[in-house]
């Protein structure tokens, strides 16, 4: 579904290279985890996939395959990537004052509909659709009339990200340190949501510093990122080894 080849990148306006040649292939139906120490480039990778303009790619490609068509997404705007089915759950979801969560979700949903030539949904139908997704995720509907993420707790913000994922139904999902700042209950709720959304046609890339989240979202592959490169890729057991021994043994 997604094929990252020899990806090099640095912060826009700053020459220091952060990603130094990433190669990663993810197929439909798979869950991949990327682990790594602080500063290894984990979050940079997710931001580049989403199209954050703060980073500049100097070499390599990210090819996304959908409906038997392969497209290098690096030249696309963030919204074009989103409409094609690429989604990033933010580590720090952004507050948008004055814009209600339900309006935000409906606008986003209808953008995706438009891009695929499907009829847009009106407010009434969308509310029904939204309610069904919230029920699936065991979410309370009190915050859909509140402004996006404003005065949300850390757990609510992350659950809102998963709700957006459920509503937009993307193909390729990146979870950028979704576990940071979450207590164990919130983490379980978020993980349950992801497990419900996972199917044979979509794929997940879970970026995390700790192994903890991977107890709940079980990966097929674990990659260790260090100094801008993937230095090891194995099955889920690798995460347990990191939990036990830390990162140092991998780096020497």
């Amino acid at each position: 579904m997604i094929e990252i080849k020899n990806l090099h990148a640095h912060v826009e306006g700053d020459g220091t290279e952060i990603l130094k040649g990433i190669d990663l292939t993810i197929n439909a139906g798979e869950i991949h985890a990327i682990m790594g120490p602080n500063g290894s480039g984990k979050s940079t990778l997710s931001k580049i996939i989403a199209g954050n303009p703060e980073y500049e790619v100097t070499e390599g490609s990210i090819v996304f395959e959908r409906d038997f068509k392969k497209i290098d997404i690096l030249e696309l705007e963030p919204e074009e990537r989103a409409r094609m089915g690429i989604f990033m759950a933010f580590q720090y979801p952004v507050e948008v004052p004055g814009v209600t969560t339900s309006l935000f979700l409906r606008t986003a949903f209808n953008e995706v509909c438009k891009a695929h030539g499907v009829d847009e949904m009106d407010a009434l139908d969308f509310n029904e659709y939204l309610k069904s997704k919230m029920a699936m995720l065991d979410m309370d509907d009190k915050f859909i009339n509140r402004p996006v993420n404003v005065d949300f707790s850390g757990g609510e913000k992350k659950r809102n990200e998963i709700l957006q994922m459920a509503v937009l139904n993307p193909m390729f999902n990146v979870l950028d340190e979704t576990d940071s700042g979450l207590d164990i209950d919130s983490m379980r709720i978020v993980a349950d949501g992801v497990n419900k959304l996972k199917n044979d046609n979509n794929a997940f890339l879970v970026i995390t510093h700790y192994q903890r989240l991977l107890n709940y979202i079980v990966p097929d592959y674990v990659h260790i990122l260090h100094d801008g490169k993937i230095i090891r890729s194995e099955g889920k057991e690798l995460a347990l080894q990191v939990e036990e021994k830390g990162y140092d043994w991998l780096l020497s």
Binding site: P53, E79, V94, V96, P97, F104, E111, P147
Partner: protein, 434 residues
């Protein structure tokens, strides 16, 4: 004498007033005061950022006019079943007005009040101890043609909207001097919306309005001023409010898609346990200019005041905010807040903001701040990652910024009207941060 003052003098003399003798004397005195004060220049600290040089060169033809067709937008904006007092080009429009009765509230034109409530009006006009007393207030007093008198009688609480509409339809350059007087007796609560609208009219005219509000003990006035005038027009508006014991003034001012605007809102807090809330939104584009001056005078202890002025500036528009807070030496336990937030979207747009705090009491809490900035890039990016184009993201976030203010207004009927007026400025948003 400047040409403009001469021009106003001619208009004053030409007007057939039919006023009582005391009013003629009063107006003559006030015109003399106006002549003495003259048109303020930028050398005057209060007018530093709002230059009246252009206005000084204008020539006006009349105080009122009867020409012009009613624009289509008017019928969308005004619900004819609601209580409406409508003036077109300075004259009461009987056809459009719907002055239904609200039990316990006296509502009439100033002309009628001058006959029916002569002594009361005389006393109110003579009051000159609340807030601003500048040249344009003198001018308003000297040239008043009509206006509205509203009095809520003791104990009356009404949820009904009282809508005063000043609609300009004429192409003639007129000088419209509107006076509104709102009196809330003890333990009353009413909702008043004053609209200054032109809807597509491009005429050059001057609205010089003055509204005086008297909020007595235990009363609450919800007062909204909404303004969408011709881009070639001048609007100089003064609103003066006195608040007595345990009373509330909840004010909101909207200026959007207008011409050259100066709004002054002065509130004097005279009674303990009271609150003054002054909120505002300005959303402007092209070369529109809006200057908001506020003054909150805490004269007694244990009161609060709250000012939040928010602006969206596109293109080469210009906004000024000058907010004064006075806390007199006896006004202990005052809690006063002031914030001016500006979204600067146009490349040539600019803002001059100036807080002015004069605090003579020692046990008070006064906070103030001002921000001028663009939209947060991380908010725009967040929406983009959900499939929303950059242009739409900017529109959605800026609309949110605007709607957030409007949604604080109590009556939904007013909210929807203001959102309607905001639409042209929202449609013009995309010029900015693209």
């Amino acid at each position: 004498m400047s040409n403009l003052i001469e021009n106003f003098k001619t208009l004053k003399n030409r007007a057939e007033t039919g006023h009582p003798a005391w009013l003629n004397t009063f107006q003559d005195e006030r015109f003399a005061n106006f002549e003495k004060a003259g048109i303020p220049t930028v050398k005057n600290e209060e007018w530093k950022y709002t230059n009246l040089a252009q206005l000084s060169k204008e020539k006006f033809d009349a105080l009122t006019d009867s020409e012009g067709a009613i624009p289509e937008e008017y019928n969308t904006y005004v619900n004819k079943d609601e209580l409406n007092i409508v003036f077109t080009n300075g004259t009461l429009n009987n056809e459009l007005s719907n002055i239904t009765e609200i039990s316990g509230v006296e509502i009439k034109t100033l002309k009628n009040a001058l006959v029916e409530n002569e002594e009361e009006i005389k006393a109110i006009l003579a009051k000159n101890d609340i807030g601003n007393t500048d040249a344009f207030i003198e001018l308003n007093n000297a040239l008043i043609n009509d206006g509205v008198f509203i009095k809520a009688k003791k104990g009356t609480v009404s949820e009904e909207l009282i809508h005063i509409v000043h609609l300009t339809t004429t192409d003639k350059p007129i000088v419209n001097n509107i006076r509104t007087i709102i009196v809330l007796e003890e333990s009353t609560e009413i909702n008043v919306l004053e609209s200054y609208v032109a809807f597509g009219n491009n005429a050059k005219y001057l609205s010089n309005s003055l509204t005086d509000c008297f909020v007595n003990d235990n009363a609450t006035l919800h007062y909204v001023k909404a303004q969408t005038e011709s881009e070639a027009s001048y609007h100089i508006g003064n609103t003066r409010v006195s608040v007595e014991r345990n009373a509330n003034f909840k004010g909101f001012t909207l200026t959007t898609n207008s011409g050259f605007t100066r709004n002054e809102l002065d509130i004097v807090i005279n009674g303990e346990g009271s609150d003054g809330t002054l909120h505002s939104l300005y959303s402007i584009f092209n070369e529109q200019h809006v200057d908001n001056h506020t003054s909150v005078d805490h004269r007694v202890p244990n009161c609060t005041s709250n000012q939040l002025y928010k602006g969206i500036l596109n293109d080469a528009s210009h906004a000024v905010f000058n907010g004064k807070i006075f806390v007199r030496d006896i006004a202990q336990q005052t809690n006063s807040y002031q914030l001016n937030k500006n979204l600067l979207l146009g490349k040539k747009a600019h803002v001059d903001t100036k807080p002015q705090l004069e605090i003579f009491a020692d046990d008070v809490r006064c906070t103030h701040g001002a921000t001028i900035g663009q939209l947060e890039e991380d908010e725009i990016f967040y929406l983009q990652t959900r499939g929303v184009s950059r242009k739409d993201a900017i529109r959605i976030i800026a609309t949110g910024f605007a709607e957030e203010s409007v949604e604080e207004i109590k009556l939904k009927a007013i909210q929807s009207k203001l959102l309607y007026l905001l639409q042209p400025s929202i449609d013009n948003l995309s010029h900015g941060q693209l």
